[in-house]
Each structure stands twice: as structure tokens, then as C-alpha cells.
Symmetry: C2
Subunit: 319 residues, 2 copies
């Protein structure tokens, strides 16, 4: 469910007067997404997405996100392009929230990930990294290693309600991952949340990447680790090495990995699993009853984390 704030017809009509987008034709809430309120917006000028930024997005970060999408789109990446109003501003306010209109991307996100999706994703991710390399403003990863211990502390003893001994196991894993965390890998602008529902495909090719609101400056290979976790495990949590191989081959067709990026992959994959585990754990324990949000089971990522904890080096992935 992704309509937290509904927009009145009056407010929408008034909002649109700030743009050169003709007149309103249709307006529907979009069910996908969990962080912001998203609407399909059709005007006589075409199709767009209207996003109202909700509680989890820091308004101070919005210019960075908008700048990034403009930067990437200008370099040929198929991503939503923020539409500027008559005053040249893409970021505006609507119903008391920051809001922006972006272009509509055709395509459908894959409910069942196939091998060719993984290869196309890998290549698109590398192209994203190359295109983002000269986006110079930095945005620290708010959900990077420095955030993990505090997130775990906020979960408190609640973790044990999911699994006996879970809290201690998470403390151990976090400690171990932080100790092993690399310091000197190639850095740049990463998406940091490139799950299948953020990637559109159309007619057997990748047609677009969306939802850049976790993007940040971090190790490029960490972005690959996020994708390996999100795309290369089967519903029964079995690691699919064939898919990971396709993802990495696609990536390296555009940007070959350095030796140190490969050797860091096991710890990056552990960290990437921990990051989603911890935010899901926090949401699991803190989502009010009756909230219109699907709580994702943190244990799904515990399964991935345990798998990566058993991998000593890159070759052990069997790629």
C-alpha cells in the first residue's frame, strides 16, 4: 500500500497550475511501494508519477535525490526524471508534504526472477555506477555499517520474540561483520535498494530503474551485494549460483570488478543482509497493529546472512 496521504482534487488542480503539463486526465493511487505515497498522474501532456515524500525521507536529502535522477537521466539511464515547474523547481509541496512529479517509465517488475533478468540487472547496475561516478555531491549511507549497532540496540530484546537467542546471534554477527568491513573499495553513487520491484522489464529487456530514495555514496560492490541477496535466492532461501553468475557477468560486461571487490564480496553480502534484516526487524517490532503496511519477515534475511557467514571467500560461492 503506498497511499498514506490522499490528495484532494482542489489541491491537485492548484498544484498542477505550477507546471506546464496541460490539464488533468486521470489520477489513481499506486499500490506498490512502502515508503512514500505514489500516484499515477495523466495529463494532456502525458503520463507521470506524483510522489509525496512521507516520514522516512529526510526533506534535506530531496535535492540530492532529484539531482541524482536528473544526472543519471542526462547520461542515458532509464530512471524517473523529475519534472520542473514553471519556476524551474522540481521539488514542491502538496498536502503539507514535499512532492515531485517524475516521468512515467514503461515496464513491469518481475514477480518471478529469471536468469536473463539477473544478467540485465547486473549490466544496468554497472551502467548506473558508471553514470553516477561524476555525480559529485556526497550523501552518506544512513543505513550503512555505522547504523547497524544502533538499529540493533533499538530492537532491544524484541528480537528474541522471533527466535530464541536471536538478539545474541545478531550481536555476534554484527560485531563480526563490522570487524571485517573493508575500508578502501572503489566508491561512488549506489542505488542501495535495487530489489525486483524497483526494476522494470519490457519485451525482454530492462526498461527502467526506479525508487532512488535510499541512494547514497558507498562502495559500488556493496550495491552488487544488495542485489545478490534480493535477486539470487530462491523462495526456499537456497542460493542460486547460476543467477549470481549471470548478475556478475552482466555487471562485468560494463564494469569489471577489481580483485579486492571480489574478495570483499562475502562480507559485503553479510552486511547487505544484515542491513535489511535490521530495518525489517525494527519495522516488525514497531509497526502498529492495523497499519497499512506489509511487514516483511526479518528471518528471511537471517537465512541469507547465515548463508553468507558460511562463505569464506569469493570462490566458495561457486561462481
Amino acid at each position: 500500500m503506498a497511499v498514506y496521504t490522499d490528495v484532494s482534487d482542489d489541491a491537485l488542480a492548484e498544484f498542477l497550475t505550477g507546471y506546464d503539463l496541460g490539464t488533468l486526465v486521470a489520477f489513481r493511487g499506486i499500490a506498490e511501494g512502502v515508503e512514500n505515497s505514489n500516484f499515477s498522474l495523466r495529463t494532456t501532456a502525458g503520463d507521470f508519477i506524483l510522489t509525496l515524500y512521507e516520514r522516512r525521507v529526510d526533506p534535506a536529502d530531496l535535492p540530492w535525490f532529484v539531482g541524482l535522477m536528473q544526472h543519471l537521466a542526462a547520461r542515458g539511464i532509464d530512471c524517473p526524471l523529475p519534472v520542473c515547474g514553471r519556476d524551474g523547481e522540481a521539488l514542491r509541496r502538496l498536502c503539507g508534504r514535499p512532492a515531485a512529479i517524475t516521468t512515467f517509465l514503461p515496464g513491469v517488475w518481475p514477480r518471478r526472477v529469471q536468469l536473463w533478468h539477473c544478467r540485465a540487472l547486473g549490466e544496468a547496475l554497472a551502467r548506473l555506477h558508471l553514470a553516477g561516478a561524476d555525480y559529485t555531491p556526497e550523501r552518506p549511507n544512513a543505513l550503512g555499517p555505522a547504523a547497524w549497532a544502533p538499529l540493533l540496540a533499538r530492537a532491544g530484546d524484541g528480537a528474541d520474540t522471533l527466535l530464541p537467542g536471536f538478539r545474541d546471534a545478531l550481536h555476534d554477527a554484527t560485531h563480526r561483520i563490522l570487524q571485517d568491513w573493508p575500508h578502501t573499495l572503489p566508491r561512488g553513487t549506489i542505488h542501495a535498494d535495487l530489489f525486483p520491484d524497483n526494476v522494470f522489464f519490457l519485451n525482454d529487456h530492462l526498461s527502467g530503474l526506479i525508487d532512488f530514495y535510499f541512494a547514497c555514496s558507498d562502495f559500488l560492490a556493496y550495491d552488487i551485494a544488495v542485489c545478490i541477496n534480493a535477486w539470487c535466492f530462491e523462495p526456499d532461501f537456497a542460493f542460486n549460483a547460476t543467477k549470481a553468475r549471470a548478475l556478475l557477468a552482466g555487471y562485468q560486461s560494463a564494469r569489471p570488478l577489481a580483485a579486492e571487490e571480489k574478495s570483499a564480496m562475502p562480507v559485503l553480502a553479510r552486511g547487505a543482509a544484515l542491513r535489511f534484516l535490521l530495518t525489517r526487524l525494527y519495522d516488525w517490532l514497531n509497526t502498529p497493529e492495523g497499519a497499512l503496511v506489509v511487514r516483511k519477515n526479518p528471518l528471511d534475511y537471517w537465512r541469507r546472512l547465515r548463508f553468507h557467514l558460511g562463505i569464506d571467500n569469493f570462490d566458495a560461492y561457486g561462481l
Copy 2:
């Protein structure tokens, strides 16, 4: 939230092979609606809505609904038109559920109802009644008077958890309304759920009516009573006689009301309020914690019902 069943890309692609609709361009869940799963579907042939019929719709009723929309669309009513597959069938199955593709209607539903909306709605409702007059198959109103006592019995003592003495008050009101219920008003095909989110407006005119899945054969004036309750009360539950006057004027511009329809309006409005009160009460008491449905407060309709219980005759509305 209106995506109960997600549709895999494979299943969608296979489903579309049954139609002459070209190839898939985009596919997004729609947030609006509570009964069925709805998706925006764009193909190279244009824009459509894909609906998967969920638990509350009796599959045996679907041919009646599809036939009604085809009947109304053929008579110039702006409503979704079911799209037939290559085999001539509009009703198919997808992901284990009955499913249909309908045409996309432009427009936006009014979040804040204005006077001109009410007038346009009244006229459209009368045109709907005239166009549906020769749709001869009958469908009894499953949520009509015969359903109210059983619905109330199923709520049991739970009503008193909302308001002390609520159960007894509802028993009294139901008894009184059933005693006064008319028997001989003009009948026909009614929409029976024409709330603002089922009516689209575009450029200052009404552009379409959607969601015919409560439509049935009943008193035409009962449909007006449903609309009076849904469109002519302010957020503070004050009856807005000006809006009701506009709605009735719009209606009578296309279909003048008979004297007995006017005199029955207070009891029809009480019954219409009771019907939504009872289903909301049932949902309120029976929606599992964490379900992705906004529970609507039954007391909002108790306020309306109490207002109508104080109206002795049509003139007392001050129209």
C-alpha cells in the same frame, strides 16, 4: 489497498495471449478499492483495468455484471466496458480467480464534494436508471432489507463495544425501517454503491461511473438514497440540503420522481444508511488485525441514520 492477489509476469503474459491487445507496456497495482484486486494495464493497444474478483464477489453473479456494463456502455453510459478475448469471452481466470479486463476511464474522483458534482451525479444516476431499464436479467439485492436482520444478528453483542446500547438501538431501528419499507416503488437496475470514489470527473463534467459489483435490481429511488447519504453529508455529519437539492434536481432533469418515490425517501434513506452501517459494523468486528483494509467507522452511518430517523416526510428535508 486493492491488491489482494499479485499477478506474476509469466501469468500475465500468458493471460494476455487470450486477447487481441498487443503487447504489455506497463502494469501497476491500483491503491483504490476494497473488494477486488485492480491493476492499471497498458498494452500497445491502449489503457485498461485488470480486475481479479476476490472473496466477496460471487462468481455466479459475474456474467450479470459483465452483461450490465456491456448493456450500459452500448447505451452511452460512461462505464468500464469489459473487453472480450479472442474467443469472445470477457470473463476469464487468472491466478485462480475470475478475472476481466475492462476499458480505462479518464477522470478523477472528487475528494471534496462540491455542489456541481452533486447535480452532475444526480443526472448521471437518472441516465443510468433509464439506460438500465431494459436490462432484463434480474439480480436480487443481496444487501437489501432481507439481509439486514441476519447481518445484525451476525454482529451479535459486538456492536456494544462501539457504543453502549448500540445493539438494542440498531435492533429497534432495523425493526422500524423494515415495518415502514415500501413495496411498490418503480424498480429497475441500480448501482447501489455510487460513492464519490466510484464517480470520475474531468474538466468540470462527470466522465464516468465505475465499480458495478453491488449493482442489482431494486427500487430506483433507493439508489438516490444511497447517494444522498454518500454525497450530501459534510465531514461533521451535517446534512447539506443544498447538495441534496442539487442531486435531486440533476436526477429529475432526466427522470422526474413520482410522488410515492419522494414520500418514501426518508425510509429509503434510513435503510440505505442502515445497509452501510451493518456491513461496516460486520467488517469492523471481523477484520483481522493487520489486514490491509481500512476499516470504515460504522458510527459515521449511525449519525446519518439518526438524522433520517428524525425526518418524518420528504418536505422535512428542507429541499
